[in-house]
């Protein structure tokens, strides 16, 4: 009987990683990032990667791991602040960066995962995002043609998953993860809690198991906070 469960991130990825592949990675900032899977990619030493992610994390954290080791050839992201090493490499021309507005980025990934090769969007019309892109007017308004994105591999982080690959997320750690889960030849999910089928209410499942080929439990990951903001107790 088909088994999706792997004991370690490195084992889950071992036969999947190749130089010059396209990897889609979940997370917003360092929230909801598949850090254990990214650490395994770092350790593997694969290089020439095209990484699709909202932003390249912090120095040595999340996708930032692969920045430090120069495993990335090209980054497709909506934001690249907060990572000084990436900024330095980019300004020195050592890494490619394709800026994609965040909503366009997630819609391109959703399109790729759902068999839509291209769509029109109002976002970016008249800006440098529109350079070299087709435009078209519908009902008097101008739109850009944007293409779907489909990766060789997607790595995502979920809170809880069952052995069938059904996943749920926790608060804003959900972000890009469920969409990215749909948009690669192979999706590997790391989860904080691995449970049996039936333990997650079928009404609450966000990512159905069909999208998840492999799953690995990463017990008690250390989650960093990028900007700790608090208020005084009254």
């Amino acid at each position: 009987m088909a088994n999706k469960v792997y004991k370690e991130s490195a084992l889950a990825l071992a036969d999947l990683l190749q130089d010059n592949m396209t990897i889609i990675s979940g997370g917003f900032g360092i929230c909801g990032i598949p850090d254990s899977l990214l650490a395994a990619i770092e350790q593997s030493g694969v290089t020439g990667l095209t990484i699709v992610t909202n932003n390249p994390g912090l120095d040595g954290m999340g996708v930032g791991r692969l920045v430090n080791t120069r495993q990335i050839k090209k980054l497709i992201a909506s934001y690249a602040g907060e990572n000084a090493t990436f900024a330095k490499q980019y300004l020195a021309g050592e890494v490619e960066l394709e800026y994609c507005p965040q909503g366009t980025l997630v819609e391109r990934i959703r399109a790729g995962g759902s068999g839509v090769p291209a769509f029109y969007t109002p976002t970016g019309v008249g800006t440098q995002v529109a350079e070299d892109k087709e435009t078209r007017v519908f009902d008097g308004r101008e739109y850009l043609l944007e293409r779907g994105i489909f990766g060789d591999l997607a790595v995502i982080h979920a809170w809880k998953g069952d052995t069938e690959g059904n996943l749920i997320y926790r608060m804003t750690a959900r972000n890009f993860n469920p969409v990215m889960a749909t948009a690669a030849k192979v999706t590997v999910a790391e989860v904080e809690y691995l449970v049996e089928p039936g333990e997650i209410d079928p009404e609450h499942i966000i990512t159905p198991g069909i999208f998840v080929k492999r799953i690995v439990e990463v017990a008690k990951p250390h989650k960093h906070i990028e900007k700790r903001t608090v208020r005084p107790r009254a």
Partner: protein, 214 residues
């Protein structure tokens, strides 16, 4: 006396109406969250997948899984819902969010906005700003009137655009301007900060505008 950052935010908060769904940018716009008009139902949208944002947590109650678009720790409220980034940006692009209050680097007299990068200086990115200005029906920009002695209200933006003809209202430390694309010039001065004179605004504004104080 020009408005300070809090006063600019307070002026922006007056644009919020009962039942509004509101997206606040980073910087001065974030301050608006503390100035929501009492007794109104206003839900704050966070692009990373949340509606109904609460205030910062009490010390010790921060949760790495609960952040806003500025990556700051926040809290939930009874009306909160969580969702993925696709639905979040569908809300923006689909026109479901009523208003967005954003920071700006330059606003042109036609309502163009530049607020995402200074070439050669910043390696940041547009994040969700281009989606917001393309989809949200009312865009309010809050910014200092000048940067290093140069007007930020310009004839044409020299910085890379976030969107063309997207701004509806500009609130600076000196004054409030509305953009009405059906008039020429489109930019209309409609309000002054206390003790700020028309003359001072004239001197510090590069864009063409009409004085239309009510």
């Amino acid at each position: 006396m020009p408005w300070n950052r809090e006063q600019i935010a307070a002026r922006a908060a007056k644009e919020l109406k009962d039942g509004f769904y509101v997206n606040l940018g980073i910087g001065i716009p974030t301050l608006v969250a503390n100035m929501l008009p009492d007794g109104l139902s206003i839900q704050l949208h966070s692009e990373n997948g949340m509606l109904g944002m609460g205030p910062f947590p009490y010390e010790g109650e921060e949760d790495a899984d609960l952040i806003n678009a500025g990556k700051e720790t926040i809290t939930k409220v009874p009306t909160t819902s969580f969702f993925d980034s696709a639905l979040s940006f569908g809300m923006m692009r689909g026109g479901h969010i009523n208003i967005s209050i954003l920071g700006g680097l330059q606003v042109s007299e036609k309502g163009d906005l530049a607020n995402w990068t200074i070439p050669g200086k910043m390696v940041k990115g547009m994040g969700g700003a281009m989606d917001l200005v393309a989809g949200v029906p009312r865009i309010v920009v809050v910014m200092e009137h000048e940067a290093k002695g140069e007007s930020r209200l310009v004839k044409e933006c020299t910085l890379p655009l976030t969107g063309k003809q997207v701004v509806d209202l500009v609130i600076t430390d000196l004054a409030v301007f509305e953009v009405d694309p059906n008039q020429t010039p489109s930019l209309r001065l409609i309000e002054l900060a206390p003790d700020v004179t028309l003359e001072e605004v004239r001197q510090k504004t590069a864009a063409n505008y009409v004085e239309a104080l009510s």
